[in-house]
Symmetry: C2
Subunit: 480 residues, 2 copies
């Protein structure tokens, strides 16, 4: 395909994309395919000779679309939102064309520098403490990671490295392996599975702190665990606290946990993967109070801030903590300017070496929406969740299972777990809306997350109508 | 921006991208900016209100382009290639629109299933042993990782987990920490810095095997190290061998190393990040002989197989080895079909949880080029490297520093390292071509990698002309 054909095909693809998104409501939100459906629809062997583009595009509708879960349908209420906006898509077209691999400043200075400034912009929107802003002289700053899982892991590895150095400074004879075997990381029993996984990868113990009735860590519970573990000769070194848990969007009281961590020299990482975007609104910002005690903070603009995946933003107070844990400088990656204080080589901040020019998406979205437009998006989706909550509360057969603070409503039929499992199955089998469950205090709960940018009140009403209709049918067969 | 405006802006962006790539030769390949250049060119604060799209686009030329290292310029000869093709860009537009996060089969069945089949297609193009092909009943299969660094790490972590279980099976009382402190991973002194980093992250010793005059590991050298380490009570568990090293594109003799690893129950991972693409050509496939002894194999189609970053393909013989090391199944990620043997939940195969629909790029590229077209691309670039090699060899002032097998030529002026450092600096300061150095046997060497898809013979000739002209000037001031 030459450049002339790309001009034509690219414009056709823009229309295809626009048509897809404009008419997405007409597609069943959840696919009706069985595992293994695709293999038999395409050849078993790769083509020897080039095929026609028309045939490829025809196969998108024939082979791909029947197997898609349409995350951007206004009938999609599963997991958490995956951000999507037109400015982000335009920026990613540009990113693809530039196609630089920004592992060092020299590999494309704009790629690194725009990222640093965009993380400062976003940090200011969140009113992060000055420590987290790079500026021209700061010790901290931000980086785009691929996912929150990676941010959690990177923070844990940096904390591990720092803890080993700290112990060895007072006892130079103790081996690294010996120290690592004594290290303990903490997180709540509500935190994301990727936190436990970070502990596995880093080869350290990870203890789950039991949560209270709000699904949050209480300071005294944490303090007691730390005392017990220290008395047993262990070394607490890392806490991953969550603002907006995956099951129920619960918030750990970081203003209470932070001082404990600081006093104990425990690295406090804050995972606000979903909820973080809301902190750009003054009314939600108090939930971030206590951030001043944290060593690192992360959330996913690719969830709720209209920036297409992947864009998981992470800030640290001391970038030397990250760099110190990972730095490697082979000759083929060194460059003239790297010793300048102004230069950031982001490869030292992350697990992968290569990186796309992802800050372009942030720049386009921030400028095309403005802070006001982004706040409006958050507020609209919280409003829709509140609307759904009201519908649930007005129906005595149902109960709300966790406080609705942002765009997630956890609810269930009063009755057995089995009953709720059947209800969810029936809902998803209609393929008209899509939800996933969670477990709260041993109970099977339905999660209704407002996801698509285009979800409106009428979709919420329709969803509730469907749920109550299926409930009516279910309760006729199987009363409460 | 509504969908109607996106149709218009998207088509303009297609033209911008086409214009950029069509006229890329006219831009200096390497930017003339100082560290920190960008911050002063844009506001310090994010905009409160939405801006005009025209202003954003204007700033792309004003702010971004002056700071870009143009990886797709035919005058770019640094690092290794970053793949770029029009079919891949079209597929990524579609990927952005679908915008699914494919962490599980249910999160978008097509996203998972196309990936499995595309990895089978590519595995067949490489003539991988049947063990690595998923098919419908295979124990192995492939996955798209973000980068080779992640593949190396994932393989090391799976190997670590397997080694711990193996030791504990014969000695249940030994602790995991104790085992990990005895584990030793191996790689050559030529392997990529990310391999050493994987050892750091995994908390295991990583020993560098010294290489021979071809910059490759010799079997008996490895065998001696293993014997010594075992005698010292250590546990060898992982070898990362390289096919196509970053400094000089050297090849470890995997057919010789494989049987040693198999006999010692050492996980053999093969990192062919750059060179792997060439194995689709029968004339290069013999370099992959010995793959049958490997546990895992990885290369980057996003380097040399015309699939835009990121697309790092990895195969394993036993997918249970990967899944066993990472599996976590919270309720919000479970789905009805996950116990079916046909279902793959790729989140268990990788570090991040979220993943883009990257196999679309593979599908578009494979079909729009065909195997024949892809082979032609590889052969053309190897031919251009050979052409450059001939030019160097014909000039008695220069020497070739490593056998030229693929698209990389390592060369230097006969003379001091200092002299070559100055030559490279002078070359890069012209901003007409861009190269990076490497170190081979203590010598400072210039790497000339054929990178851009659009590089032709005339660019090679021009590059050589520039190099010899600068050499002439340099030697006038500072004779050999």
């Amino acid at each position: 395909m030459d450049v002339a054909e790309f001009r034509r095909r690219g414009k056709e693809m823009v229309d295809y994309v626009a048509d897809y998104l404009e008419n997405i409501e007409q597609r069943p939100v959840y696919p009706d395919v069985e595992p293994g459906y695709l293999r038999s629809m395409i050849p078993a062997e790769p083509p020897l000779e080039a095929e026609l583009y028309e045939d490829v595009l025809r196969d998108v509708e024939r082979v791909i679309m029947p197997g898609i879960t349409h995350w951007h349908s206004p009938y999609f209420y599963a997991y958490f939102p995956a951000a999507s906006s037109f400015p982000a898509m335009l920026a990613d077209m540009l990113c693809e064309a530039i196609g630089c691999i920004g592992f060092s400043w020299a590999a494309s200075p704009a790629c690194t520098e725009l990222e640093t400034v965009m993380l400062d912009w976003l940090g200011k929107m969140l009113q992060l403490p000055e420590d987290f802003i790079a500026g021209t002289h700061g010790q901290g700053g931000g980086v785009i990671q691929g996912t929150a899982s990676e941010a959690t892991l990177v923070a844990l590895l940096a904390a591990r490295c720092k803890a080993v150095r700290l112990v060895q400074a007072s006892d130079p004879k103790i081996s690294e392996a010996d120290i690592i075997s004594k290290l303990v990381a903490y997180t709540s029993d509500q935190s994301h599975s990727s936190v436990e996984r970070a502990g596995l990868i880093g080869g350290v113990k990870m203890k789950k702190v039991p949560t209270d009735q709000h699904y949050a860590i209480k300071g005294d519970v944490l303090r007691n665990m730390l005392e017990e573990d220290k008395a047993a000769g262990l070394i607490p070194f890392y806490l991953c606290s969550t603002l907006g848990t995956t099951p129920s969007c619960a918030f750990d009281p970081i203003a209470e946990l932070g001082p404990i961590c600081n006093a104990e020299k425990i690295w406090m990482h804050i995972d606000a993967a979903y909820a973080g975007s809301a902190f750009i609104c003054p009314e939600f910002r108090p939930l971030l109070n206590g951030i001043e005690f944290a060593d690192s903070f992360n959330f996913n603009p690719h969830k709720w801030l209209l920036i297409n995946f992947d864009c998981s933003t992470m800030w640290v107070k001391k970038r030397s903590d990250l760099i110190g844990a990972f730095k490697m400088d082979p000759l083929y990656l060194t460059h003239e300017n790297q010793e300048s204080g102004l230069v950031t080589d982001y490869r030292h901040w992350q697990i992968p070496l290569g990186r796309r020019f992802r800050s372009l998406k942030m720049w386009f979205v921030f400028r095309m929406y403005g802070l006001t437009g982004l706040q409006a998006h958050i507020r609209k989706q919280v409003g829709l969740a509140k609307e759904f909550e009201s519908l649930v509360r007005a129906d005595k057969r149902f109960e709300i299972c966790a406080e609705v603070i942002m765009g997630l409503v956890c609810f269930r039929l009063k009755g057995s777990n089995k009953l709720n499992e059947v209800l969810l199955k029936n809902i998803n089998h209609t393929r008209r809306i899509h939800l996933v469950p969670c477990q709260l205090s041993g109970r099977f709960v339905l999660r209704f997350a407002v996801c698509a940018r285009t979800t409106e009140s009428r979709h919420i009403q329709e969803a509730w109508q469907l749920i109550t209709q299926l409930t009516y049918e279910l309760l006729q067969e199987q009363p409460l």
